[in-house]
């Protein structure tokens, strides 16, 4: 299950001018890369285990 804010607090802080664009994007980029890395590695792991299951 996943639940969260549609527009997160840090995004609101950026749109309200309370957070510098450089800081916001540096943080957002780090988060995006970490989440993407976990997601892609998870997908690859699932694909590998499915391949192993098929080859048995």
């Amino acid at each position: 299950m996943m639940r969260g804010q549609v527009v997160p607090e840090e995004a609101r802080a950026w749109t309200a001018g309370l957070l510098l664009a450089t800081d916001y994007f540096a943080h957002a980029r780090r988060e995006a890369v970490a989440k993407a890395s976990a997601a892609i590695r998870g997908r690859l792991r699932r694909a590998r285990s499915e391949d192993r299951g098929r080859s048995r």
Binding site: T15, A28, A32, V33, A36, L44
Partner: protein, 281 residues
């Protein structure tokens, strides 16, 4: 889509791509494991070959030694070829994984971290009843869009500018990125060919992507102003329905800084901006 630039510059960070949960790069860890397997395989083969040779006793003649050496080479060559092939395949898989991570991260950044909060601001612009507050939100929206564009488009040291159309002229209303504030004013004067073409681009709701202003044969009026610091740029008309509002541009000092994905980001951002700036009729 071009590769992801570093954290400090616009675009996502290649250095962090592929970093494992514990902080160790995934590709490096996998590469070490594969090299370990290959070394173990080579060691086992060498041991087996050595045992087979020694079982019959050390060769007594030079011809016998030559035969042993030839046998060793014959065993080593396929092993070497196989290890090279496996290492190459592993490197290819690693770069494919890194590319997939970069693409996924970029999508998350564009949709989740930029379009979503900017769409909220667009909604607020139209909900606000006071004229002063609406204009303030519009000013904020213009600034958010140029900040987003400069950070999302791949050019290193990119600069994004929103030129607002007012009384037949376009002036910079918001900018972000490298260099000094933009001073260009696009006019319809007969002597201002660049201005005329920029205004036509807005009027026809067009976009223009130029890979290299020095290398390409450019359409008339698309050439850079003298002394310009950029080599590549994208310009997109900002409009909503029939209302022409201005032009959103991003440029970079290096050629081929932008690709079709950047163009699509620009088109989406220009439309978001247009939706926020359009007057209620």
């Amino acid at each position: 889509m071009a590769s992801m630039p570093p954290v400090a510059g616009p675009g996502p960070n290649p250095g962090a791509a592929g970093v494992g949960v514990l902080g160790e790069p995934v590709g490096r860890r996998d590469g070490r494991r594969l090299r370990g397997y290959l070394l173990a395989e080579a060691g086992a083969v060498a041991l087996g070959y050595g045992a087979a040779v020694l079982r019959d006793g050390a060769p007594a003649t030079g011809g016998g030694w030559a035969l042993v050496a030839a046998g060793a080479v014959a065993v080593a060559v396929p092993l070497w070829v196989k290890s090279r092939r496996e290492l190459r395949q592993e490197a290819e898989a690693r770069s494919a994984e890194t590319l997939a991570i970069e693409t996924d991260a970029r999508l998350r950044l564009i949709v989740g971290d930029v379009v979503t909060p900017i769409a909220e601001v667009v909604g607020k612009v139209h909900q606000t009843s006071g004229k002063g507050e609406r204009e303030s939100l519009r000013g904020q929206l213009k600034q958010l869009v140029v900040e987003a564009v400069a950070n999302l488009c791949d050019g290193e040291r990119a600069r994004a500018v929103y030129f607002q159309l007012e009384r037949g002229e376009m002036r910079a209303a918001a900018w972000f990125g490298r260099g000094d504030p933009p001073t260009t004013v696009f006019t319809d004067d007969p002597g201002d060919r660049r201005g005329q073409e920029a205004l036509l681009l807005v009027r026809f709701h067009d976009y223009l992507l130029v890979d290299d202003v020095r290398a390409e044969e450019l359409p008339r009026g698309a050439e850079p102003r003298p002394g310009a610091s950029y080599r590549s740029f994208i310009s997109v008309s900002v409009f909503c329905g029939e209302q022409n509002l201005g032009m959103l541009s991003v440029d970079a000092p290096e050629p081929h800084a932008f690709d079709e994905t950047d163009l699509n980001v620009m088109r989406a951002m220009a439309q978001l901006l247009g939706a926020g700036l359009v007057d209620r009729r």
